[in-house]
Each structure stands twice: as C-alpha cells, then as structure tokens.
Symmetry: C2
Subunit: 348 residues, 2 copies
C-alpha cells in the first residue's frame, strides 16, 4: 500500500490535484466549503498532512538534525542529551545521523537532513573531512548550522568547543605534580585541530615546568584501544629514557595504554602514571580508574542548542555574526595517576 | 531568510503556484518548455527540490527511521551499525531518534519520523511503554515497521529478538558448572518480556540441575549500575544462605554488583561468581573482566533491516505475514565467573 497523495484526494472528489493542493495550503482562490471538504477527505484517506507538507510556506518543521561521528562514544551521547534538553523546552524534536567517521557518510547525512527539512543542524565533523562543501550548502540554504567539538573556523558559523589546549596542559601538569618527570604523549592525528591543541598543551606544560621536550616520548596513534596498546608497548621498550607516565590523547587510547602497562613488567600501582581525555563512561569503572579531562559534554550540547535557538529567532531579524563558545575543561583525578597517594599506601 | 517555496517560483515566473507544483511533479498538462523553465528557476532560487517533495506521489524517500531507547548503550549502537550496513547496500539512509526510555518521547519520535516521511521504521520499545497506539498509527499508514529486542507480539509486525530464555539458562548453567551452588539473580522489571524471559531461564536452569529455588536469592532491580550495587549489598547481607554467585539481568547491573562485591569482605577472585547479560563495550575492560551473554547485536540489526527491505519490495505485491527471527545467544566466558581456574592459579 502506497501513501495517500493529493492525486488520490483529487480523484475521490472529482477535482484536480492542483485544487486539492491549493485547498490544503489555504489558498485564497479556494472557497471555505471546498477547503473543508478537501480536509475531511484528506483525513478519511489518511493523507499525511504533516508539518513538513504544511510548512512548505512557513519553513518550520520543529525538527533539529544532529550529525555525530559515532553513537558508540559516550561523549557524543552526553552532548545529545544536552541538545535534547534545550530543544525540547523550545518544542523541537531531535533526529540523529551518525557518520561513522566517514566523509562520504557525512555528505549523505547532511543531504538526508536537508531532505527531511530540518529547521537547523548541529554537527561534529568526521576525522576524514577536509572538504566542507556540504556544510556550505547548508549555509547557502539559510538553514542555521552550529558546530561542536570537532569544529572549524573556515565555515564562519557559530561553534561550541572546549579549551583542548588548556585541558591537555592541566593533564600534563597534574602528572608533573604527582612527581612524574618523563611524561610521554600518545597524540592523535595532528591535522585534526582538537588533537593538535592537546599536543600543544602537553608541550607547553612541560616547557612551563622547564622540562625539555624529548621527541622519543611523543608518539602518534590512531585514536583507538588497539593503537593505544601498540604505542605504549613501543614507549615501554625505550631503553634509557623510558617514560614514567603517559598522557593519552583520549580515553580509548588510554584504555589500550592501561592494558599494555598491566601486561608489562612496570605494572605496580603508581609505577607508570596515566591520564586520558574525555571522561568516557567506562573511565570511572576500569581498574585502576582513569584520571581524565571532563569536557562538560551536557553543557556543550546545551550551548550548541541555545545558539541554534537564537538563530531560529534571529532569522526574522538580522543575521548575527558567528559566536564562539569555549568551555572550561575539568580535571577528574582518579587512581591511574596517583603516585604519591599510592606510595603512602605502600609505606603504611 | 526563509526557504524558497513554490510561491516564490510562481511569482518569479508570473504564473501560479499550482502550475509550478504540476511542473515540478511532471504533470502531463504542463508543456515540456514550461517544465524546463520552472526547473531552471527552482534551481536558481535554490528551491529545495528534495526527494520528499518529488516523492509526494512515489512515496519513497530512501530514509529509514530507527527508534532506540538510548544512544548511550553500546548494545543499541551495535544494532544500528548492523542496520546501516544493510540499509546502505540498498541505497537507504538511516536517521535515529532516541527516546531516553520515556513513553512520551517515543510517541514524539514516531511522529517526527512520520513527519520526515521515512520509508520504514525499526524500533525497540521503551521500558515505560504499554500503550501501542503510536505504533498502530505507523501500521495504519502502511509504513513498514520492524521491532527488535524490546519487541511485542501485540502489534502483529515482524520482530528480531534473541532467545533471552536460553541466554539466561546458559549463564546460570555456566555458574553451576564452575561449582557455584547458591546462585542469586538480580532481575529486571518483570513486565518487560526480555527480563521476564531471563528470569525464567535462570529458574529453569536451576530446576534442570535439581537445585531448589530460594526466593531470597531473587531480587528485582532497576536495570542500572546503582541498582545493581544496592541489590548486591542486600544479597550479601543474607545470613545463612548468602549467595556464592550472581547472575545479573544485564551488564550495567552486573557492573554495580561487581563494585559492591569488591567493597565487601568477599572480594577475593572466584569467591563470588558474576555473570551479566548483553556484552556491553566496557565488559571486556573492567577488572575482573565480565562473563556475559552476547546478543549478536550487529546480526540483529542486519536481520531487522533485511526484514524491512523485504517489506519495501513486498509492498507492491502482497503483504507478507509477520516474521519472527530469534537469534542464538552466545556465552562469553571471562574472569568474573572463573572459579576453578582462579583456584588453580592460587594453588600454583
């Protein structure tokens, strides 16, 4: 069974599809009586007179589309909760599209959301994306667009990010304060801004504490458990300058690092300090629990949704110039980096 | 700036919206030349001639809507990957709506997806849902609907589930085979079919091994980490018949149970066996790693998407009678339930 169309309604009423279309769109050329009978018939035939159909003129569907690289990562799940919280208060529903970190899927996702006539799009860019034409198309159509976390300034749209540089600085400084001195960094692909910022934060924290950068202690991973494990195994094979702590670019990498440390001969508590980044859901529950940087994910989602709501309202008036909201990172201290405390425990 | 509508195009061409509509819909009453000029103008004015607009007759958008209780649970993430895999091969895109386990949100989600003119819906029902009118509306509109995991037979639609009864039976039997004899069960709300089936599997496995059911060892939790912790604390306070193993209804409950066990005086490896259900992403990485039941999530998603694709094709022909696919559960043996192995290790 196909969907009921204006042609079915027209046939039922012995009139033309054009008349039905005009009646449903409240066109002045159609009599009130005709409009009434068309609406009744549409209802009887179960015509899907949805907000999209009726919004061909008003341009409002009250649906926001959110594009995320992965629904598996709790970071994005938490941001979505923040978006939904604000969206719902404004009467908007949220649909999601996941890109699986693939550029092609991101292009498809934007097309699908435009096709669904969403009133606005909130997106975090895939690791692969370097061409932004699909996002420019969103702008060209006058659909409000907000980027979060994996943002770019190239598009001239409002963004919500956290201060990745500062978070990495805090993570590295925390390890220094715990008494670690040979701190390695498992970085992410440096063409992605957030990962590059974290690398910069790490380097600058060491410099601020007058510690010389050792190139051997910086390794570039692929942002995965497996890659974290491999990078750590390589770091632990260093002969004379083996690291006594690792700052991993994000929590999955840190999880792999933790496994490699546990399997190594340096597996006593506090022997090799470890800090991640992102405060993933599992980080509190692994053993040892993982010290990490919290990105205020729910707040990030809320701010992104608020920016979008502002733009919905601003549409009628003037275009606002793009805003950039930078959230503060939070250090979450757990067992994986606690050297002094562990030593005290051992001594007692 | 609002969206370009057929009225804008009509104004530009000094014609009527009805003519524009007919031209865009390839109506025979419009000349080829007029169609051409309307299309050109539509393009110049950036008219969103999307598949939805042009599918008012064909009824195809090539978008599938998936309704999930939560994007935070890796179980659903994995099912979505399975759905996407099959959908993409057939040229379909997938949009998601998360209900956060709320009935009201589920109703909103279904409305939003219908409004987005999806070609089909794949859903897993919230814990709260007992009224199925919104799903009946989907059926009434002739939109193919498939349920997975949290399914109901009430709607007469095709479903993909795993054999929860058998999975629970396997989990309980595994603990018996490890030498545990006083096996407790932290159940979920019993009005939800999958949780009730797991309770039945637990009871029947004990019965099959001639072990009398001890009502004190069955406790009803709320399917959360916190609830798993509280239920376990209560179980461990039992004086004469304290359990020596726990089968938790799902992995988050098991995670809470593991914390409570670690904090108790019975925290030596193998002292209290533990098995979860669902093989969540964290289950392999916590210490001890969690023995659990794998639900073949990717396969579940693939099967659900295949059923939907079948129905898309069957639409033109005959309605098929609803199909019920039941997948086999898999026991994933890890450290949390290994009694004998741990004992051997201690002895060596």
């Amino acid at each position: 069974m196909g969907r009921t169309t204006i042609h079915d309604i027209a046939k039922e009423l012995n009139t033309t599809a054009a008349t039905v279309s005009r009646a449903l769109n409240d066109h002045p050329s159609i009599s009130a009586a005709m409009k009434e009978i068309v609406r009744k018939t549409a209802h009887q035939l179960n015509y899907q007179q949805n907000r999209i159909a009726s919004s061909l003129r008003s341009g409002k569907t009250f649906v926001i589309g959110v594009v995320i690289p992965s629904a598996d990562i709790s970071f994005f799940g938490s941001v979505i909760h923040g978006i939904e919280m604000v969206a719902k208060t404004h009467g908007y529903n949220v649909i999601l599209f996941q890109t699986n970190e693939r550029y092609e899927d991101e292009v498809q996702g934007i097309q699908t959301l435009l096709q669904s006539n969403v009133d606005g799009i909130i997106a975090s860019i895939t690791k692969e994306t370097s061409n932004f034409d699909h996002f420019l198309e969103v702008k060209r159509r006058g659909i409000p667009l907000i980027l979060f976390d994996r943002a770019t300034d190239e598009l001239g749209v409002s963004t919500v990010v956290i201060d990745d540089y500062k978070g990495a600085f805090m993570a590295t400084e925390h390890l220094l304060q715990q008494g670690y001195t040979r701190i390695a960094h498992i970085a992410g692909p440096s063409h992605i801004k957030i990962f590059h910022e974290r690398l910069r934060g790490y380097v600058d924290a060491l410099a601020a504490h007058h510690i010389k950068i050792d190139e051997d202690l910086i390794t570039y991973g692929k942002v995965s458990i497996e890659s974290g494990r491999t990078c750590t195994q390589q770091l632990l094979q260093l002969q004379k300058n083996r690291p006594d702590a690792i700052f991993a670019v994000e929590d999955f990498t840190a999880l792999g690092a933790m496994e490699a440390i546990k399997e190594s001969q340096w597996n006593r508590p506090g022997q090799i300090g470890l800090v991640g980044f992102a405060n993933e859901a599992f980080s509190a529950y692994i053993t040892p629990s993982l010290t990490t940087i919290d990105q205020q994910t729910a707040l990030m989602g809320q701010e992104a949704a608020k920016l979008l709501m502002d733009q919905q309202q601003a549409e009628q008036h003037h275009e606002k110039s793009p805003q950039k909201i930078v959230l503060e990172p939070l250090l979450i201290q757990r067992q994986s980096s606690m050297r002094r405390q562990t030593k005290q425990k051992t001594a007692s």
